[in-house]
Amino acid sequence: MNSRITAFKLSLEIARVHLVSKPKQTIIAMLGVTFGIGMFITLVSLMTGLNKFTEDLTMTSSPDIHIYQDVNEPRSSLLEQLNPTGMNKVYHQRPRQESARIRNAAQIVQLLRQDSRVQGVAPYLASQVFYNNGPVQLNGTIIGVDILEEDKLFDLGSKMKEGRLEDLLTNRDGIIIGSGLARKLDVKTGDRVTITTPEGFTRMLKITGIFQMGMGIVDNVRAYSNLAMVQTILNQNQSYITNINVRLFDRNQAKPMSIELSQILEYKAEDWETANATFLTGNKIRNIITYSVSITLLIVAGFGIYNILNMTIYNKMKDIAILKAMGFAGGDVRRIFMMQSLTIGFTGGLLGLVVGFILSVLISRAPFDGGDFVSLDHFPVNFSKTYYIIGVVFGVATTAIAGYMPSRKAAKLDPIEILRGQ
């Protein structure tokens, strides 16, 4: 037992002396790993940070399940309904004059609220409108909501730049508009804005607040008003609802539940994954690119180690031969070179973590203008520990594999060839 330990220490000592006696070579090999892991961490942190940022943004304005009347849904023709077994052909069937209304909205909301998976339900009413302030006329959307329900689902309160949500409740003709819209109209809280519906109805509303979601496509077009007010503008009664947003406790339940709801209700229930398919695909592709670039970097570092270790072993053939003659087993020799490889990998890897962390911090502080579309003043960076662990594990694994092949060659080296060959 005792001899085992000293033999192990001896291998370590020889490995250490080899590394220290060629400092330049050791440092270059180490820097290869450091660079690989540092870049891996920087890239992954930035990419996942960006992904998470856009995901959060999208999720704040996108419900888990969105129920609405899809007017573009193909419908069966009257002929097919009357003659279901025959061969029917109807050309250019016109879409039916159909209202976007959800019938029995109150019952549906009631039903959903009783579901144990559901965290919150917000029925609302949306319509295209024109915003007018003097000569300026802008196209946009007005959404009639119960503002407190909406706040529960989308945390609207934290997005307010001016005014309070509660002000809308006390002002029947109040309106909360997006920050981009406010800038274009050149209005602020307390000002009045005229809205015109597609049907030509005009109404002047008072701005009680300004919100900012952080996304141009929302902030530049959207405004919130009371449900009753929008119903009035659209000349509809109090049961007129066009959309229902649902927030679940577990977002991953959205897909199965939306399928289930589509079957029960005669309306379209769309889950967030389907609604944001483009964005999610983008996320996936970015992740693939990040990982393939990082892995390539690490493999290149691995080749560097492989090369340097091969060279070391080539230079140390005589040493290996005499060690074997003196009674070092193949395993002892392999251990000497594996130790060197792992030391390079581990030290280089740890340095890589530091480099990656410093780069991530620098990037997270770098000013970045998101422009009109996203409200962003610096890069979002994800400092998750997971990537640091992956980095070190992968770095050590790469160096272990890169070091194993030359080490095995050294272990198999026939001492006689060297000792005789002189």
Partner: protein, 230 residues
């Protein structure tokens, strides 16, 4: 162990080379080496004397016949077992010193003993210093091996071969690279090891003067032992 039983015993060793064509290098070699015997192995180039020595060294395992050292049968043992056996029972001195250049003289001598792990590091260090003193190298213990002369390097290599008190010391042209003064010095050291410490020595040599002064000269020709002189 009594003086009668041989420290090394070879029975019917035969070996072939297969590259470039099949060729018999050793033909039915039988050899006994007694404890404390100083034996030299001579012969023309290509007669198989070095090949025989590497079979005796246990590093070459590709042969027919049987090898026994210090009463232990080594034929058929695994590489790792043979390595451990060499570490404890055989010391090597080659034409070139093969010292590890990154280590000091003392560290070079200590390595085989640290590998054996029988003594503590302090004891090993003391033993290494003693062995170096025996060879007149005590002033150079902390030097790098590259700072020494050829003769000094060879003496360090001998000290390293001695550190584990091996039963047998094998030399492949141990004086081949030395001037006559240093060669004489090495011979005297070997002489002392056999007569005072009763260690056996097998040395492959081209140096007839060296061979003539050993206890027994074994001459080889065409893979066979010609006949023991003296």
């Amino acid at each position: 162990m009594s003086g009668d039983s041989p420290v090394l015993k070879v029975t019917g060793v035969t070996k072939y080379f297969y590259e470039p064509v099949k060729f018999q290098v050793l033909r039915n070699i039988n050899l006994d080496v007694k404890r404390g015997e100083f034996l030299s192995l001579v012969g023309k180039s290509g007669c198989g004397k070095s090949t025989l020595m590497y079979v005796l060294s246990t590093m070459d395992t590709d042969y027919e016949g049987e090898l026994e050292i210090a009463g232990e049968k080594l034929t058929g043992q695994k590489q790792n077992e043979l390595a451990a056996f060499r570490n404890q029972h055989i010391g090597f001195v080659f034409q070139f010193h093969y010292l590890l250049p990154e280590f000091t003289v003392l560290q070079n001598v200590m390595i085989p003993a640290q590998k054996l792990g029988r003594y503590t590091n302090e004891e090993i260090e003391q033993r290494a210093i003693d062995k170096l003193a025996l060879l007149g190298m005590q002033e150079h213990v902390q030097k790098r091996t590259s700072k020494l002369s050829g003769g000094q390097q060879q003496r360090v290599a001998i000290a390293r071969a001695l550190i584990n008190d091996p039963d047998i010391i094998m030399g492949d042209e141990p004086t081949g690279n030395l001037d006559s003064y240093n060669a004489g010095l090495v011979f005297d050291i070997f002489r002392e090891l056999t007569s005072v410490y009763h260690q056996s020595i097998i040395a492959v040599t081209h140096d007839n003067e060296f061979a003539r002064r050993t206890d027994r000269v074994v001459e080889m020709s065409d893979g066979q032992i010609m006949g023991a002189k003296k």
